[in-house]
Each structure stands twice: as structure tokens, then as C-alpha cells.
């Protein structure tokens, strides 16, 4: 190789969803994968960040619902598209707090990395379900919870991406701005362990701030409860994150980042229809749910089963909130509260529906 030969620009393929591609919102979430040899949406911000070092040679677009409902096929289709360009680097997102998008980004970045051997990264908010699923497998840049954090995200993505491609050493999560991967790195330091431990203990006793060298992972799994012994005598309650509410959304449950949940009375209701029910959820195309809310909470079928004696009783109340970008802490709080009521009301089992 000649001495002064200049390396070509780094080739990047970018993956985004139908919304950021300008194709449409929820009504286009079933958009099948396609590739365009253009820079689109957030790609423009990445392009500005990369300047002369890298260029996006193609943008792969896929609808969030299509991906979520056809994970294996969508993965295959997208991998084929990426392979064609033989890029040096693959970037998916940023997905911020969009759950389906985050899962798609994590899935595809992981697949490109493992099956095509191409350095990949993605970016999303730490509470995105895609983050928990993939942060150990793929570098995920930590972003704010909405697209208002686009510039901030790109500022972190660009340098990390370049380091990845060039094979440079990647620093700690705090330094580089990615989510903790659960990887332990050994390093040499001047003070011995015992001295560092005593220093930490002294700080703790004094009530001063200290930083642990080994944060414990958050396991929080709840073991399954015993099965229902006799379902024909059981009281079943419906809970949903699909945003099912009575017509008119009387409690004004928010279409995203829900701040409350509703408790609704279905006494005497044997079928949901546009007169008595609708969805408040803003994260999926609402037309099917608004047309027949039984598609989100199966009241009609449960009433039939109740009449036939296949279940003891359909609980009179259902609990509902909107799962779209709702903070984990809030969802936990809602469920803690209403679970107490469910127990007090003698509910034997719960069917929880999500979209």
C-alpha cells in the first residue's frame, strides 16, 4: 500500500422507522422494509456530525408495527438490504422512548453485528424496553426521552460510532454516553483494594457521597403465582395498557406519558362498540380499537364464557392506562395501587392486555 494513500470515507447504513422517514405516523406503521440511497430525517443530523469522515450511503426504512409483528422476516429482509451496501458501520435510530422502534433498533443492530460482522450501534432512552433487551449485546447511546433530544443524541453517537469503526478503545459508559453493558473491566490503580474499600466506608459513615466500583444489576423478577385451581369458579379481572376507556375518555387519560389510570364499570355491558368504548392510546393506529374495543379488552368473549359457566365471573371493574411512553415508575405505582383493590375485591386472576 502506498504511503500517502487516503482512506475513503467511512460508509454508513442508517436504519429509521416510517415516522422519521416522513412516510407517515401510526397509520403507516405497517410499512414494509425498503431502502433509499438518500439521507433522511435524523440522518441529516448524523451527516452534519460526521462531516468529511463518514457518509450515509443508504437509509433502510421499516414500519414499527411491521417489524414488531414479523420480527424474523423483517430481520431477514433488512439484513439483505444492509449486506448489499457492505458498509463499515451501521446505525439504528435514535429511538428515544418509542418502544416498538427501540426494540426494532436493538434487534437489527444486534443482528447486523453478529450476522454480518459490521460494527453497529443504536440509541434510545434508558426506559425503552429495547434498552433492557439489548444494552448488553450492542452499544446503545443513552438519549433523552423524546426527539427534542436529537441534537444531544447525535453529539454522542458520532464520536462513539467513529471510535467503533476505527477500532479505538471505548471508554466507560459515563465517558462515552452509552448505557451500561454489564461488562467488568479490570484495571490497575495505585491504591490497593483494601484502602479503597476503607475510604468508601468512611465516606458512607460520614454520610458523604461515594461511588461504588461494582453496581449490582437490577434483577427484579417476580416468581409466578400458583395456577388457578378451578377456573369455572374464578373471578377474572381485565387490566390493560392499551388505553381502553369509556366513550369520551371521561378521565382524560393522556395519549402518551400517562399520569393516571382509570377504573371503569362494565356492569351490564356485554359488548364494546363505538357507542360505549374507545381508546386513548396515541402510540398505535386507533381505528381498529375505536371500531370495536373488544379487540383490546375482550369483554364480549369473557361475558359469553361467564354465561356458559366456563369462568366464575368477569370482575365488574377493569383498570386501564396508556402504555405509550409511560414512565416505568408510574406504571409500577398504578399497578401497586389497583392490585390492592383487586385483592380486596376477591379477584382470582387477571388478564392483562397490551398492544
Amino acid at each position: 500500500m502506498r504511503g500517502g494513500e487516503q482512506m475513503g470515507k467511512i460508509k454508513v447504513v442508517h436504519y429509521i422507522n416510517q415516522f422519521f422517514a416522513g412516510i407517515g405516523g401510526e397509520e403507516k406503521a405497517d410499512h414494509r422494509p425498503e431502502v433509499r440511497e438518500e439521507v433522511l430525517g435524523p440522518g441529516l443530523a448524523l451527516k452534519a456530525g460526521f462531516k468529511d469522515e463518514a457518509e450515509i450511503v443508504a437509509t433502510v426504512i421499516c414500519g414499527d408495527s411491521y417489524f414488531g409483528e414479523n420480527i424474523e422476516e423483517a430481520k431477514k429482509e433488512v439484513l439483505e438490504m444492509v449486506k448489499k451496501y457492505n458498509p463499515d458501520l451501521f446505525i439504528a435510530g435514535p429511538a428515544f422512548n418509542a418502544g416498538r422502534y427501540g426494540v426494532a433498533c436493538g434487534t437489527i443492530a444486534d443482528a447486523v453485528q453478529n450476522e454480518l460482522g459490521i460494527p453497529s450501534l443504536t440509541a434510545m432512552y434508558e426506559e425503552n424496553p429495547g434498552a433492557d433487551m439489548f444494552k448488553k449485546a450492542v452499544y446503545i447511546v443513552s438519549t433523552k426521552d423524546s426527539a427534542a433530544g436529537m441534537r444531544d443524541a447525535v453529539k454522542k453517537i458520532v464520536p462513539l460510532a467513529l471510535k467503533l469503526v476505527k477500532g479505538e478503545e471505548i471508554g466507560s459508559p459515563a465517558e462515552e454516553g452509552y448505557l451500561e453493558r454489564g461488562i467488568r473491566k479490570n484495571y490497575f490503580t495505585d491504591k490497593r483494594g483494601s484502602e479503597r474499600a476503607v475510604d468508601m466506608l468512611i465516606k458512607k459513615l460520614k454520610g458523604e457521597e461515594f461511588e461504588t466500583e461494582f453496581p449490582m444489576p437490577d434483577f427484579d423478577r417476580v416468581p409466578p403465582n400458583p395456577a388457578v385451581k378451578d377456573i369455572t369458579k374464578a373471578t377474572i379481572a381485565i387490566v390493560t395498557s392499551g388505553g381502553a376507556v369509556p366513550k369520551g375518555n371521561p378521565d382524560h387519560i393522556e395519549s402518551s406519558s400517562a399520569q393516571k389510570y382509570g377504573k371503569y364499570d362494565i356492569e351490564g355491558i356485554f359488548d364494546l362498540n363505538p357507542e360505549n368504548g374507545e381508546t386513548a392510546h396515541g402510540g398505535y393506529d386507533p381505528v381498529y380499537a375505536n371500531d370495536d374495543l373488544d379487540r383490546v379488552i375482550p369483554v364480549d368473549v369473557l361475558r359469553e364464557l361467564e354465561k356458559e359457566g366456563k369462568i366464575g365471573k368477569l370482575h365488574r371493574y377493569y383498570y386501564s392506562t396508556v402504555g405509550n411512553g409511560t414512565a416505568v415508575a408510574n406504571a409500577k405505582k398504578f399497578a401497586e395501587e389497583f392490585s390492592k383493590e383487586l385483592v380486596a375485591d376477591g379477584v382470582d386472576a387477571v388478564i392483562l392486555t397490551s398492544t
Binding site: E26, D220, A289, P298
Partner: protein, 78 residues
Amino acid sequence: MVKEVERAGIPVVHMCTVVPISLTVGANRIVPTIAIPHPLGDPKLEPHEEKALRRKLVERALEALETEVEGQTVFEMK
């Protein structure tokens, strides 16, 4: 939310479309559903067919509630 219901001592079955998400949030009994905008329905079917489909899904969910499980278990449609 599934974990909190389970924590309160009530067996719960999660009916949802994107199973990997359900696994991540810690559901123990999972029944995969049809599609994101209509988990318990299919607008392409005739109404009575759609209701029959919904009933099958709910019956599977009830089966899941009647089944002892050790850890996270997905109950696919038979």
C-alpha cells in the same frame, strides 16, 4: 404492571403482540396476540370469525392461568 399484579399474589396472564417486550417486563404467563393495533381481533375477518378467533385466544389465556409454570412461559396458539 404485570409484575406488580403478580407481586400482589394474583396469577396474571399477559396477552401481547411483541413477546420479547413481555419477556423483558417480566411476565410469567404470556399469550402472543394478533397485531399491535388489534391484539384480540382481526379486521380482515368476518365479524363472527373474528369473535371466534378472540375466543380462542382468551381460552388459551385461561389455560395459561390454569397451568403451573416454573418461570416465564409463552403459550402459543395451538
